[in-house]
Point group: C3
Chain length 281, copies 3
């Protein structure tokens, strides 16, 4: 089993050379590998945001190697891991099994990879990356993307088996990710803001089915402030200044305005709590 693509997410930013050097290292070890940058602008050290981004993206990244590096504990005792997900264990070469091929997630064991692994069906196998034969020598311990994770991702592309990369560990021992769940309370849904995108759309952890009874107008409350939102299919269906609820591209509800930032309009940030309730007739 080998791979031709590494999907790469990090909090390295694009000003320093970090992401570029990791890609150069991957290319040197496994020439011809395609590296797809998912984003390198996860907020610094924000494991939650990185984990949610990987979770949103993962179904489009498989089969392949997924390299995630948001790693405030770099160089400490936190484990470096590779996690196999997906089906097709026989490795029959078609790369697919029940819709998702076998793939490997590589990164620190701090919860970053866990939400994506869960969405991909859960970890089948996991190893701690203790075999330094597959790492680069380095003067310091602060750049594991270049010295450990990148080289391991490249060797996985070349066909190195997980078992070669280090000692097998119990998938149940991995640090879990945090995916906040919404909850029904009386006639309200208590939700949380998962993500604000570039356009200011506010993704909530709410499936449309959870508010199916509420009809076309829904009250969106944050603390003392309440706004009425109308259910629409696209941003352009909203009049100027009108607050809407759309089913976003990941199938979750998002608060949105037409060509304006809903996050600014409603003063919402990731992690904020939001209540949804039916509007009076």
């Amino acid at each position: 089993m080998s791979f031709s693509t590494v999907s790469f997410l990090s909090d390295y930013g694009l000003v320093d050379e970090f992401a570029g050097v990791v890609k150069a290292v991957i290319g040197a070890i496994a020439p011809g590998t395609t590296v797809v940058d998912i984003t390198h602008q996860v907020p610094a050290h924000d494991v939650r945001a990185g984990g949610l981004t990987l979770a949103r993206s993962i179904q489009y990244l498989l089969p392949g190697v997924v390299l995630g590096v948001v790693d405030p504990g770099v160089g400490s005792s936190r484990r470096a891991i590779a996690v196999e997900v997906g089906t097709d264990p026989a490795g029959n070469g078609d790369g697919v099994g029940e819709g998702i091929g076998v793939s490997v997630l590589v990164g620190p064991d701090n919860g970053l990879l866990a939400p994506a692994a869960a969405i991909a069906g859960g970890a089948r196998r996991a190893v701690s990356l203790t075999n330094t034969d597959y790492h680069l020598d380095a003067p310091g311990q602060t750049f594991a993307g270049r010295d450990i994770f990148g080289p391991v991702a490249a060797h996985l592309c070349l066909g190195v088996d997980l078992a070669e990369l280090g000692e097998e560990i119990d998938p149940l021992s991995l640090i879990p990710g945090i995916i906040p769940l919404s909850r029904q309370e009386d006639d309200r849904v208590e939700a949380e803001v998962l993500w604000i995108d570039r356009f200011g759309n506010v993704q909530l952890n709410v499936d449309p089915s959870e508010i199916a009874e509420m009809g076309d107008r829904v009250l969106v409350s944050r603390g003392e402030t309440t706004r009425a939102a109308v259910r629409v299919a696209s941003y352009a269906d909203l009049a100027a200044g009108q607050v809407g609820l759309v089913v976003d591209s990941y199938g979750l509800l998002a608060v949105a305005l037409n060509r304006r930032s809903a996050a600014e309009e409603l003063h919402l940030a990731p992690g904020d709590g939001v209540s949804l309730a039916m509007a009076a007739e």
Copy 2:
């Protein structure tokens, strides 16, 4: 006719995973395709800026597929289109004809692609992307780059003909792009700022031939403020603080300073009107 390269411009930004996921989708459908990021930092919803950027770039992107996504009307009734430009209609495989090979522009029908199509010689054929066999299933309608445009670009690379992608439409029915024209008034040229680049250089919609009579010193006016600019060939020819007019890399006049921002110095922004006039002897 197939393509090996997709040039990709959008207003997705580089913080969210949007551009990365589109590239992953293209790679999954058409493995080995090279995706060249032109920019993903077109200002949000700014069709004019995106259209001008594509127009500046287009001659360097052909032959190939050009994917442009600045799409405030995503999910609404605006059409999704593919537009064939260039010559070599016989598809003889050499990829060139009268200087530009046949290429396909893919994106929303909102004027974004029109300036580039015009520069590439005009639309030869156009289709509305109504054949959902070439799209991805998606829970919402807000991410056409991932679900429609990216998959279509990938299938074009694989050799799918335009006619397979949807119903043919009249190229004359496409939404036109807006390219502001300069005009001669008395002894002045009334111009408009097209673009401010990272270095603060101010591109005007003025060909050097339009001010050929004005000599080496030209008055640049914005409202009540007038500055004298000297014609030079390169930024380094300017003394510290001196305002210059250079022929920029696209053959248009740009107001510039040496190692400083002309846009800041002259308080200019895209869309601003500027007058050029001959300086007194």
Copy 3:
């Protein structure tokens, strides 16, 4: 001798189309070439910062073509150059010699490439890029990345020899780069801030051996302000708010905090002077 990879650093930013167009040009001349973006967000015109970034990265970029464009003198009399570095002069095809294969650095002769060339063992050959057969025609002289450096990098990938690209010049005539050296004064080390990374870590031009006598606690002074820093192996070894000195990923000392910006905490910027001294028992 040909190359499959161009590593590309510039101050073009990622908002304008500059970097994308250069990559399109490289791909058109040398299809299949992998372009690795090191960074395009070197501060505008900052040759020192670009040179240090290339110097940090260079060992991971070889063998290959390295394209560096931070070029405030574009279009002026400053030379455009290609510089051959590394060993394996016989070109026996294995791409390595004493650890580094032959590589070529391409860019302006303004000191940008010099620190990297020095780290790669020094310039073996150099040419001034005077042969316009390998350039693109262009209306203006302001975009040498697209019109000169990018095309030359692509032709080098195709196997064009340095001698074809222009007249040979004496490597000793190249503009040198500036790498500030630390110095021992009494019992202090007078250092300079080389780089602040995204996380606020402050890289100094000091090798750990220079403070080997100082023990585990070191006084870090900037002007009148002194902070005690503790020597640690990783950021996570630091208590909240504690200032540390780590050996960074390039083997130099860096002032750091755990999950906070040392640059903000100590008010340090690139180029600032810093003193290191032993703490009293």
